[in-house]
């Protein structure tokens, strides 16, 4: 039985043929945005022909790529990118999660409390939260604490959404406010600092590339999970047509709890990397991260209506984010413009998504 062509009554169907992937459009957008910055670098008189991504004059590290800027582009979106992976599967399932930013704040505070070192330059840790017994713990302790808090917060979101039937927007808004409050309450607003060396390595190891490696590693893992597992298929099915999913025997409520729990766990992981990278935790960490994460997914072609999108798209969306931020710095433009342009791009991405959906519906 050959796989490509099965004819019935003169018609053939092709098992391999697929539609133009939406991710290609996002990739083209990424290339186009890079090209605009490169062009501006050549055209604007004050730029003196500088380039965003390339480094022709001084082949510093043996490549024509500007590795320093490339690293910054990916590094600055990695931590929020980890959250965006969670948001991607939540939005594909037809939901929304507003809580990860606050969960990052809470998780950073609590896990950092279990990661403190007893002595700082020979003196007792001035920011100590617990007594001696909780100092210099093995690094696995704060990691487990962070994952547990993320999982717990996500599970509460999921249980509320699945079993009280309140809209995800409201359930996760409640968690957003409550988790931020808990983060401030934890140390009465005081920052928590001076972690152990192994904890500091989580976000600073591998010559500073560690957040990038963690982000890309998780992206690959969840790309596989969404594309090739039953979990992924059910996530798409629920977002696509919840009634059909239910009628087909998918345990929709249980699945939703799992989706939000995994999103919470990823927020916890993101907090771990963030606290470690900054060597400190503050109650205000992660403010607005959820919105940046949602923006990355939307720019990456994930439909807010559910059922459509991919991790590849979200990673490309995150890169578009990174390129815009770095591009504005490189053009020496104020951060204000950055935010305005970011806002415009988010709206444009949603408009594009609706237009695409309208076109698909018209064809059907």
């Amino acid at each position: 039985m050959s796989e490509t062509s099965h004819g019935i009554g003169g018609l053939t169907f092709d098992a391999k043929k697929r539609a133009w992937p939406n991710e290609m459009n996002v990739f083209i957008a990424l290339v186009a945005i890079i090209a605009i910055f490169e062009l501006l670098g050549q055209v604007l008189p004050y730029m003196n022909g500088q380039s965003l991504l390339f480094d022709f004059n001084t082949a510093r590290d043996g490549t024509i790529l500007n590795m320093v800027r490339l690293k910054i582009i990916i590094l600055q979106v990695s931590i929020i990118g980890i959250i965006a992976i969670g948001s991607t599967q939540v939005i594909i399932s037809g939901g929304i999660d507003l809580s990860p930013g606050s969960v990052v704040g809470l998780t950073a505070m609590v896990s950092m409390s279990f990661a403190q070192t007893a002595l700082v330059n020979g003196n007792p840790n001035p920011k100590a939260i617990f007594g001696e017994a909780f100092m210099d713990l093995p690094v696995i302790v704060p990691i487990i604490v962070a994952l547990a808090i993320g999982i717990l917060a996500g599970a509460v979101n999921g249980l509320l959404i699945a079993y009280t039937k309140i809209p995800p927007f409201i359930a996760t808004l409640g968690m957003m406010v409550a988790a931020r409050g808990a983060a401030k309450w934890w140390s009465k607003g005081q920052p928590i600092s001076f972690p152990t060396d192994p904890f500091a390595d989580i976000g600073n190891g591998l010559a500073g590339w560690s957040p990038v490696v963690i982000f890309i590693g998780l992206a690959i893992l969840f790309h596989f999970v969404l594309k090739y597992t039953v979990y992924g298929k059910h996530t798409y099915a629920i977002g696509s047509n919840e009634d059909a999913a239910r009628m087909s025997g998918i345990k929709v409520d249980r699945h939703k709890v799992l989706v939000y729990t995994i999103a919470g766990m990823l927020a916890g992981l993101s907090a771990l990397v963030l606290a470690s990278k900054n060597l400190t935790a503050q109650a205000g960490m992660g403010v607005m991260y959820e919105l940046d994460a949602i923006a990355m997914t939307v720019i990456g072609g994930v439909s807010l209506a559910g059922g459509r999108g991919s991790i590849v798209g979200t990673v490309l969306g995150a890169l578009i984010f990174g390129v815009i931020i770095s591009g504005f710095t490189y053009l020496r433009l104020d951060a204000y413009y950055q935010e305005m342009v970011k806002g415009a791009i988010i709206v444009a991405a949603v408009v594009l998504d609706q237009w695409r959906r309208g076109r698909a519906a018209a064809r059907g």
Partner: protein, 277 residues
């Protein structure tokens, strides 16, 4: 696959498998009350293996109520349902489906953004490595079985990897129907399968129904379309005001559409169903 393909191209469907006489579904005194409304009253119904039976009746006559009791969408007030030799009591549509009753609803239970194999196997995916919810999908096997099912039903879909949203209403309905062939169901129930379709698409669905007939798959067809029912079915069971009022064998061609309409409107009632008059 060749044994299936041999009879697929035949356009002569008149030699469909004759009902074998073995009963696949029987209801005795099936009754459903919604509060004080007697939506279904003492329905005694028999379906034989290989038989295609149409259920007709006016709106509110009890057709859909009857179907809902059999498919587990609702639980009956009273009566018995015997399916494949066993008394059954389905709690939900999944129970009925697991037992081998596949229902094609008027409102399609398809996920628009997924492709054909995904939809056929929705909720019962084939996996090649078991790992709880993270079991790994066996796409190749699902594709191959999808192609097999489409060939068996004669459904023509240009590209099975295309998403459902890009398909015509007829193609979507065909995908929904192809589910029955994929899972070797023992009974297919179709509730107004062509109500929303155009002429050509209706013909496509009707061809699939003929193919099912040829293969001896029993079918209950709920339809308002007299021509369709006369063309496709062996028997018509007419419902009126919650009761069965006629059981008409139409194979001999002695019963006309006007006769059936008379039963539907209440102008006529078969003597054995006198209490429905």
């Amino acid at each position: 696959m060749s044994d299936v393909q041999t009879n697929l191209y035949s356009t002569d469907f008149s030699h469909g498998a004759a009902p074998s006489g073995e009963v696949i579904l029987e209801t005795r005194g099936l009754t459903k009350h919604y509060g004080g409304v007697h939506a279904l009253q003492d329905a005694n119904f028999i379906l034989h293996k290989g038989e295609h039976v149409a259920i007709m009746g006016d709106n509110g006559a009890g057709k859909s109520t009857f179907v809902r009791q059999i498919t587990g969408v609702e639980t009956r007030t009273r009566g018995e349902v015997v399916f494949d030799g066993r008394p059954v009591h389905f709690e939900n549509p999944m129970d009925a489906r697991d037992a081998g009753i596949e229902t094609v609803f008027q409102t399609l239970a398809l996920a628009d953004q997924l492709d054909v194999p995904d939809n056929l196997f929705l909720g019962r995916e084939l996996v090649k490595f078991k790992l709880g919810p993270f079991s790994i999908l066996d796409y190749k096997a699902m594709r191959e079985r999808t192609i097999g099912a489409l060939e068996k039903t004669g459904v023509k879909i240009p590209n099975i990897r295309g998403t459902i949203e890009r398909m015509s209403g007829g193609q979507r309905q065909c995908v929904a129907i192809a589910r029955t062939a994929t899972f070797h169901s023992k009974l297919t129930i179709m509730d107004e399968p062509t109500a929303a379709l155009g002429v050509q698409e209706t013909a496509q669905v009707e061809n699939i129904i003929r193919t099912l007939k040829e293969q001896g798959e029993p079918l209950i067809l709920v339809s308002h379309n007299m021509r369709q029912v006369m063309d496709l079915c062996d028997r018509i069971v007419v419902f009126r005001r919650g009761r069965i009022c006629a059981n008409l064998d139409i194979r001999a061609g002695e019963i006309s559409g006007e006769d059936v309409v008379a039963y539907i409107t209440g102008a006529k009632t078969q003597p054995e169903y006198a209490d429905a008059a």
